[in-house]
Symmetry: D2
């Protein structure tokens, strides 16, 4: 299939590679000039404008945020460049409200729209191990399925209205953030009583909390090391706000989300937006009067 | 070894069975008369008074709560009945403050004290699959280790001051309660947007949240079924309060614990204390204006 | 002075009356046809279009919310209709972000802009007893001062950047909402212990909390009567959201605002958006398992 | 009347002075030796033991906290020293649970018990301007009324069960703490946007929030000056905890109280327990990334 792909960031590069490996013809546009050479040598056509991507059978966006997605894909020229049977497949983490607008914009011109955000980090994207959460008209999702199959390990179709996929993605990210805060409070409690953080981590992840995410985030918190960031605090706030916006629109009070919102705002207002988003755990420790762990300090 | 065991509830019965199978001589006391026959036929000596249990080499308590543990094991007669080399092994879920008092009471009389609460439900107790969290003087813990080995699948020794084991147990229970609330809010958000709860559950537990506890509690919430209770809401409040008391004593602010406290209080004040403690998820749904799911209703 | 006035609601009607009494020539536009006759008989010129209002020396808006203000006053035709020395005086409760856009829109065309929201209810508007919170360029505010003098009892100029006045107005409304929640929790606590609500109210307002707002809102809560609404719950949520948006933009975590947000959402999701915004106090009572007070029931 | 008075702290000294002025014979005991000379010269009999105070017609306690009140007044010798028609009048800020125990202890010996905590600071105590909140058996309260009349400006009798007065006192203190947090968040919001704190304070206290408590606490926050403390943060935490305990006992969820609890814990854990309890406002400012105001700095 001829695929357009806008947004060749850390995630996009891996996804593009897998599409090419599967025999698809991929035309890529990225705002910066960064990965052009790498993309070319991987077999991608590098476009000078997103309109070239829009002109393909399916155009995928994996852009950074609402602002970038709206600017590029709601541009009337972008919509006009899409073929009559075109399909916009939005895989970025965006708001429910924007997904609605994207769907309407495509529908107006008779094009199809599918939301399919993913769970997984860059290594999972490179290894075609993403989890894809898709929603949209049945036939539109079916057209995308072969692409999901080569980019991810499993696809979950959660409904026929595209924004539902975004709701699920944001709910999942909220759950991760809540898990981080939960760990932060539990580590503050045990550490202040004198429990060794590594030992507590080992216990948690060997007993009740065996999911790998506990190991990943618990490990950052136990060692009190939040740099380099796998996913930045700034983006954590963005995601919490998107989840709250989805909750607000549907009138769903979420007290944990309110606590998370304050944690991310505090960390960023105090200058820590560049840390990994697990760094809000340091706020729980500081509130308890604990000091940052020095390297190698057992507690 | 000659073991005394006070508190033959749903957990205790399984633990006693495993001690007997391993060849220990177990003298059991229980407040009610319930499992006497079963205990006898399993090979236990059924005592008429906790003092007979106190007189054994090691006396284990697996009583219901702080009040029961204090009444039975801080009774001067109980302490006096312990042999000079006696050891009190408290495996119940009790407060950090009570664990301190138990330790002091034993120390005053020259006896040893070990805290070793467990993670696991009655079936795990019966199957010797408990996780044991132990703390106390090194030699005292070592004396208990053979008992841990036959009651549990793994022991974590978290320190030489006995109450540390209780801190860890309470932190773990806090984490479970926070996971429940997190699920409750995420299900309310997705369900109000029209996502099928079972599908959302399948997605969560197949991707990021693969720990069995997510399957267990997520299953209750997705089906909106909280009876019969595996662990009652009333006890959930008790455990949240114990975690908060441990946090208060060490001056550790825990905002999620505050939210949980209000959830459990609300559910109980509104007459739902008999439901499973995952039932606080219904409060998140109700606050969003959702109605209870009828049986078989997909959402 | 020749004044345009868009938005003749319950507040606007009183303000218009006072402007006319002071000898100003007032041209009024309102979306509905409601108060036309009354406005005419009071001496106002009733316009068929907001553009007629825009054409006056100063055009005041007292519209309902952000959407209405943006639709009417950001219309390019409205801006074009303003005289070269025109001034837009926005007295509605709007977002800080919209106030910024209004200021920019006026500045682009060389017109002046002043934000001057007010504290006070319709009777205070009618009695020229409003408190005016004004901000904007010094000379622009000075031009408006004679109007403030006839509409209010006192004007507070809080800065030279217009949106500052909106920040202060939203902070004030946040404080009122927080006072309501505080009262709700305190009444729930005392009522559940058996204290008579009217007696508790009398005590509060005779001792520490003598400000009239405590009497007003405390009275509603003590009698558990929230209809007819003086200010609706729906609007309360709107105001809390505006305060949170102002806080978000400046990165100011406000945990009480988060609690309020959940309270208003819950009340509205459960179908109570038409009650007075003090009605969130009923949520505190219900969470404690208390039932609504029947009329005349002392508690 | 012959009055015993235990607890001659900053509050007690003023109250004792007013009792003496009204012609009562007052026997005083205080743990320290501090105000002995002053008390004597004021006309008090200074006792060497609280038992001498207990032996009077009415014994008033104005001790510091639950621990002190329990130690002194639940001492069997104290109870035995009370005359057959004795009355214990507890005016300290204590827990509802302790008030119940004090009442039971007196009832057991046939003595009367009245709870009558007060609102007001030391200057109000000295000026006989306290507000007295009283509860207890009708005739017992009547016996105390002449004393209330000379110590306070007004008495509120809130019920016939003594602990009700303590509930009301704790609810009032909760409301003060909530007002402080509300001010803290509102000041953080406005200050970060660039509003001058003194100007914001002037506006608040001239318009909606005219109660003197807003002037007092708002003044501390606007100037960011929390030393010397009028009422220490440490005691603020104590009072919030007492309110929460009263709420817990009656199953009344109070989310604002939860936030306050975390604020006071944080401030104390970070070493600020000696500041005035309005100092939690600094946490709201710090979370927004604001720095303490230097003296004379307008914001």
């Amino acid at each position: 299939m001829r695929i357009g792909f806008v947004g060749a960031g850390a995630m996009g590069v891996g996804m593009i590679g897998n599409l090419i490996k599967a025999g698809h013809e991929v035309t890529v546009w990225n705002r910066g000039t960064g990965p052009r050479a790498a993309l070319k040598s991987a077999g991608a056509v590098v476009a000078d404008s997103p309109l070239e991507c829009a002109a393909q059978d399916i155009v995928i966006n994996m852009l950074a945020d609402d602002a970038a997605v709206a600017e590029v894909t709601l541009d009337p020229a972008f919509l006009a460049a899409m073929p009559a049977a075109g399909l916009h497949l939005s895989m970025a983490t965006i708001s429910v409200a924007l997904a609605e607008r994207l769907g309407e914009a495509c529908a107006t011109g008779g094009r199809a729209y599918v939301s399919a955000p993913v769970f997984g980090r860059p290594p999972a994207a490179a290894a075609a191990q993403l989890f894809v959460v898709a929603a949209g008209a049945r036939d539109a999702v079916a057209r995308c399925q072969p692409l999901f199959d080569v980019m991810g390990q499993r696809t979950f179709v959660v409904g026929e209205r595209a924004p539902l996929a975004n709701v699920v993605k944001l709910a999942g990210n909220f759950m991760l953030a809540a898990m981080i805060e939960t760990l932060g409070e539990a580590f503050a409690l045990t550490r202040k009583h004198g429990i060794d953080p590594q030992q507590f981590l080992d216990l948690l992840t060997s007993t009740l909390f065996t999911a790998p995410v506990y190991k990943t985030y618990g490990g950052l918190i136990a060692s009190d090391q939040y740099e380099p960031a796998g996913f930045k605090l700034n983006l954590g706030l963005k995601d919490v706000r998107l989840a709250q916006a989805a909750a607000d629109a549907a009138m769903v009070p979420m007290p944990f989300a309110g606590v998370l919102h304050d944690r991310y705002m505090t960390a960023i207002a105090q200058g820590h937006g560049h840390l990994d988003w697990a760094g809000i755990a340091r706020l729980a420790a500081e509130a308890a009067g604990l000091h940052p762990l020095a390297d190698g300090d057992p507690g």
